[in-house]
């Protein structure tokens, strides 16, 4: 019994490993597009700053620029996970690729986790592109006061976004115009999920304090800038974040199980 459990666990890890490697090979299969993304990031940043100028903002201090950097990274993460990861699975479903994946993977969750791990590694490029852009345009060198906490915040943010994107995908996979919902979500969710620094106002502070999905991004800024943004000890912020992730994980497992069962029993794949 024990041996069979171990074998099963080993098989699951092997599947996740294979899916991760497959995802990484897919994501890095077009180096030209990666180079273009890195090279065009400063242009987007310059456009953003020029547009602020259009609104009448004339000067930006170093502290504000540091906050902008982390807000931009949070937005890039939300956008990348919803579009790249979430829509990747939606496309797989529409194009029938998911059927083939299901034929070789024992549980669709293995595929999602594997692909998610690959995507989490890939999104580090977004951070690299942003750091480079801020350096090129403003000569800004990032501050990192607590590196282990900063790394932990990226792990927490990635796990949370993996689970949120998966739940989102499971819910919308049969909807039409899912890209429209994604477009709206990519603006609404970050606002609720810790994108805006608490310094922006008392309502934002309240939002960041009480929104359970905001903590990884708040911790990210706190670790980088070295001060508490919300009046909660950092340990508790991490604990709240872990609890949120655990709850999202349970919800994801239930939804994926229902989705998997529906697909296997009823055979409703693609656009049916």
């Amino acid at each position: 019994m024990q041996a069979s459990k171990r074998r099963l666990r080993g098989a699951v890890f092997r599947e996740i490993y294979v899916e991760t490697i497959r995802g990484l090979r897919l994501l890095f299969s077009k180096p030209s597009s990666i180079i273009i993304n890195v090279l065009t990031a400063p242009l987007w940043l310059a456009f953003f700053i020029l547009t602020l100028r259009g609104f009448g903002v004339l000067t930006l201090g170093r502290q504000i620029l540091q906050l902008f950097l982390w807000a931009a990274y949070a937005f890039a993460l939300y956008s990348s996970w919803l579009w790249g990861f979430g829509h990747g699975i939606i496309e797989e479903s529409y194009e029938g690729v998911l059927e083939n994946v299901m034929a070789v993977v024992s549980n669709i969750l293995d595929h999602i986790i594997g692909w998610g791990l690959a995507y989490a590694i890939y999104t580090l490029l977004d951070l690299a592109a942003l750091i480079l852009s801020f350096y090129l345009i403003f000569g800004l060198i990032i501050e990192l006061h607590n590196i282990p906490l900063f790394v932990l915040s990226i792990v927490l943010a990635s796990l949370q976004l993996l689970l949120i994107s998966t739940i989102y995908v499971m819910l919308v996979i049969r909807f039409r115009s899912s890209w429209v919902i994604t477009n709206i979500m990519q603006f609404l969710m970050p606002a609720l999920g810790g994108l805006i620094p608490s310094e922006a106002g008392k309502y934002i502070l309240l939002l960041n304090e009480y929104s359970p999905i905001a903590y990884p991004f708040v911790i990210m800024r706190e670790a980088a800038l070295g001060y508490l943004e919300v009046p909660i000890p950092i340990v508790f912020q991490v604990i709240y974040s872990v609890i949120t992730i655990m709850m999202l994980l349970v919800l994801t497992i239930i939804l994926v199980w229902l989705f998997d069962r529906r697909l296997r029993i009823e055979g409703k794949l693609g656009l049916t």
């Binding site: 077009k30 030209s32 597009s33 273009i36 993304n37 065009t40 242009l43 987007w44 310059a46 456009f47 020029l50 547009t51 602020l52 100028r53 259009g54 609104f55 009448g56 903002v57 004339l58 930006l60 039409r176 115009s177 890209w179 429209v180 919902i181 477009n183 709206i184 603006f187 922006a200 106002g201």
Partner: protein, 244 residues
């Protein structure tokens, strides 16, 4: 055109998005800027029109290229090239639908904002601004033709669009004061059609239209249409000789 309209109407959410997205983007930027400075209604309207022009410009430039890319991926491009209908007619049909949809979206999105700020006179100015938008989208169709030619020649729409979109966005000059830029970028902005379209529309909405701006816009439409048609013809000739 009817086919394209049917395709677009299958996704009503996309049309709704076209209307609300400028509010999201201009509103979001105004929200960020409001922490540093006071945002007046005139500033917001200028930025809103700027984002609208920018968004519609990008759609216009990309429509033809995306269409041809999809046709090629679906294996239908060879048949389209072999059909007696000219590709210009097909691309014009596709782009005309986008022009109609874009103008419709702009009208619906701008109506409440302009009515609240300028009342009935704002509606009259909006009508003229829409006409200017129509003229402004024509040179962008010309640019779109050029892009279509490049895409079918280089066979990689995504990479080309990923390079062209941020460059055109920053060279639009529609959402920021261009005097802060070096002279050579400013000259590039003046040459491209987005800034002239934005300026003439915004000036019209403010009630200060200059005839020279409108003449520039018409001239730009003629030049870019000629450029697009000539460039596309040369690319198509090459493709017909070498194969898709």
């Amino acid at each position: 055109m009817i086919n394209e309209l049917k395709i677009i109407s299958r996704e009503p959410g996309g049309l709704v998005l076209l209307i609300i997205l400028p509010y999201f983007i201009a509103g979001g930027m105004a929200f960020i800027a409001s922490f540093f400075t006071k945002i007046t209604s005139n500033v917001f309207i200028r930025q809103f029109v700027g984002f609208e022009v920018l968004m519609l410009s990008m759609i216009m430039v990309q429509t033809g290229a995306r269409f041809l890319n999809e046709e090629r991926n679906g294996g239908r491009l060879e048949f389209l090239l072999a059909s007696p209908t000219s590709m210009y007619v097909i691309l014009l049909g596709t782009s005309m639908v986008m022009i109609i949809v874009d103008i419709g979206a702009f009208t619906i999105a701008s109506l409440p904002l302009l009515y609240l700020n300028y009342g009935l006179i704002g509606m009259i100015r909006l009508t003229i601004a829409l006409l200017l938008l129509f003229i402004g989208l024509l040179p962008l169709y010309g640019l779109g033709l050029l892009m279509s030619g490049i895409v079918i020649k280089l066979k990689d729409a995504d990479t080309i669009m990923n390079i062209v979109t941020p460059i055109l966005t920053i060279l639009s000059g529609a959402t920021y004061p261009i005097y802060v830029l070096p002279w050579w970028i400013k000259d590039l902005i003046y040459v491209l059609p987005m800034y002239i379209t934005f300026s003439s529309m915004y000036m019209e909405i403010m009630g200060n239209t200059g005839l020279s701006l409108i003449l520039n816009l018409i001239l730009s439409a003629i030049i870019y249409l000629l450029l697009g048609v000539t460039a596309y013809a040369s690319f198509e000739k090459e493709i017909k000789r070498g194969g898709v």
